[in-house]
């Protein structure tokens, strides 16, 4: 009976967390816009943190409720699942996921570097405040690069629109309007509704994550498995549902950059912020198996996906099957051999 109740709490809390993260980010963007923060900065930040808030929230709550290992498990487990599981499922299902060299060079390199930074700090025995500051600073630099790139892209698009305007009179009205939209970001007043919804989103996120971590710990106790395992698999896969939805549906629609970019960006956020911020409040202990097995697997699958993509700037169905098989192999080893 306890198992059924806890599984139900887990499922409901996941929905609460995912919807709350959505509401929170939406309204936070509206507040940012009212303060005059540029649309580009808001857009980049919102898409970078949007799908990763459930992992971050779980890691934070786990730290505050003295289960930091579940938090580390969620982050590392999510990163392995994001790459081997989600990209594996997507490439297998859709058959072809394309990428562009610039995106892979930037986001792929940063994802790999952040994974290496994490392992370097893990070697110290625990991830402390100093490591947290470094990680957050590295993420800040990455966001700055993203915003710079987005501004460059936006300028390029503006030039194109102006060229089209000169060439095609019939499109002039529409293009002029979209050109104006790109150039100006109007600041407006913050409505009470926005503030209330931001608070509702934040509260939902906190309550949902608390319930999620609680049910995860309870289920681990009932099943007699370490909480780290719960974090690595159940919570990691659960909190990554937004990534799965975005990656799969964007690949099906042919929006390939969004598909792979979302996974790489999410993995960077998970490590630098998902572990970096909790480390500011408490030393995050490192489980030996996590350092000797989970973290190396995370680096290995990251390297693997980058090498697979590099062959032709795409992931094929065969690549997807290879990635999925790798995840299944990892799960079997971790759950039944090493546990």
């Amino acid at each position: 009976m306890d198992i059924i109740i806890n599984v139900a709490i887990l499922a409901i809390s996941l929905i609460i967390v995912i919807k709350s993260a959505d509401i929170f980010v939406d309204n936070l963007v509206a507040i940012g816009a009212a303060f005059g923060i540029s649309e580009i900065i808001l857009g980049v930040t919102a898409s970078a943190i949007g799908t990763s808030l459930p992992e971050f929230g779980s890691a934070m709550i786990a730290t505050f409720t003295h289960s930091p290992d579940i938090g580390v498990g969620v982050v590392i487990g999510s990163n392995i699942w994001n790459i081997a599981g989600i990209l594996g499922i997507t490439a297998t299902y859709v058959g072809l996921v394309r990428s562009n060299p610039r995106g892979i060079a930037r986001d792929g390199a940063v994802t790999l570097i952040t994974a290496l930074i994490l392992v370097a700090f893990m070697f110290m025995g625990s991830i402390n405040k100093f490591a947290g500051i470094i990680m957050i600073a590295v993420y800040g630099v990455y966001l700055w690069i993203l915003v710079k790139d987005q501004k460059k892209e936006s300028r390029k698009n503006n030039t194109k629109i102006i060229e089209e305007l000169n060439n095609k009179e019939e499109n002039s009205k529409e293009s002029a309007e979209s050109s104006k939209n790109v150039k100006s970001s109007k600041s407006s007043k913050i409505s009470k509704k926005t503030i209330i919804w931001t608070l509702v989103g934040l509260t939902g996120l906190i309550v949902g994550c608390r319930l999620l971590v609680y049910s995860g710990v309870e289920l681990a106790t009932i099943a007699g498995v370490p909480t780290m395992i719960m974090g690595l698999f159940t919570l990691a896969i659960g909190t990554s549902i937004p990534e799965l939805v975005v990656t799969l549906s964007s690949a099906m629609k042919g929006l390939h950059d969004l598909s792979i970019g979302n996974i790489l960006g999410s993995n960077t956020f998970n490590i630098m912020i998902g572990i970096g911020v909790p480390a500011l409040f408490m030393d995050i202990p490192v489980e030996p198996l996590s350092l000797s097995f989970d973290a190396p697997v995370m680096i290995l699958v990251t390297l693997m996906v980058l090498l697979l993509i590099k062959r032709g700037m795409k992931l094929t169905r065969t690549d997807g099957i290879i990635l999925l098989a790798t995840y299944i192999g990892y799960a079997i080893l971790r759950l039944f051999v090493l546990n």
């Binding site: 980010v25 058959g95 937004p242 939805v245």
Partner: protein
């Protein structure tokens, strides 16, 4: 028989190959070509509003580029081109536009593998069964 009004739809892939074959067929015809791109707006449950907006924006941009490309490709002395950008479910919108515009020939690409067809479904297959006019399917192949 020369068709007076043709609807050509494409999601962008294999457009070069498709346009080449279509132009070989219609180059001398006195006809109106309607180029259609459908922005697919459906998203799975739990997709955030921001992501939905982002997808719609990206697909609209992509659609505009494809229509401009089509305009370049379907040029002929007696060919009049009309671009159309619509939102909705591709198969439903294609059939709806074919009815509204009163086209007498609908041209689209086909060429998914059996696995792709089983997993992703086929727009052309749905259209074939409900189209109000003759349908010409151009066999496309992966590079």
């Amino acid at each position: 028989m020369v068709y007076q009004k043709i609807l050509v739809t494409s999601a962008g892939e294999y457009l070069d190959q498709m346009a080449k074959e279509v132009m070989e067929l219609i180059a001398d015809w006195n006809t109106e070509v309607i180029g259609l791109y459908v922005v697919e707006t459906s998203t799975p449950i739990l997709t955030s509003r921001k992501i939905k907006e982002m997808m719609k924006k990206e697909l609209t941009e992509k659609g505009k580029k494809i229509l401009l490309d089509m305009e370049e490709k379907f040029k002929g002395p007696n060919i009049k081109f009309k671009p159309l950008l619509k939102e909705g479910k591709p198969a439903d919108e294609i059939v709806k536009i074919a009815e509204e515009e009163g086209v007498d020939l609908l041209i689209m690409g086909t060429g998914k593998s059996m696995v792709d067809k089983y997993l992703l479904g086929s727009v052309s297959e749905k259209v074939v069964h409900t189209s109000p006019c003759t349908v010409l399917l151009i066999r496309t192949s992966k590079e």
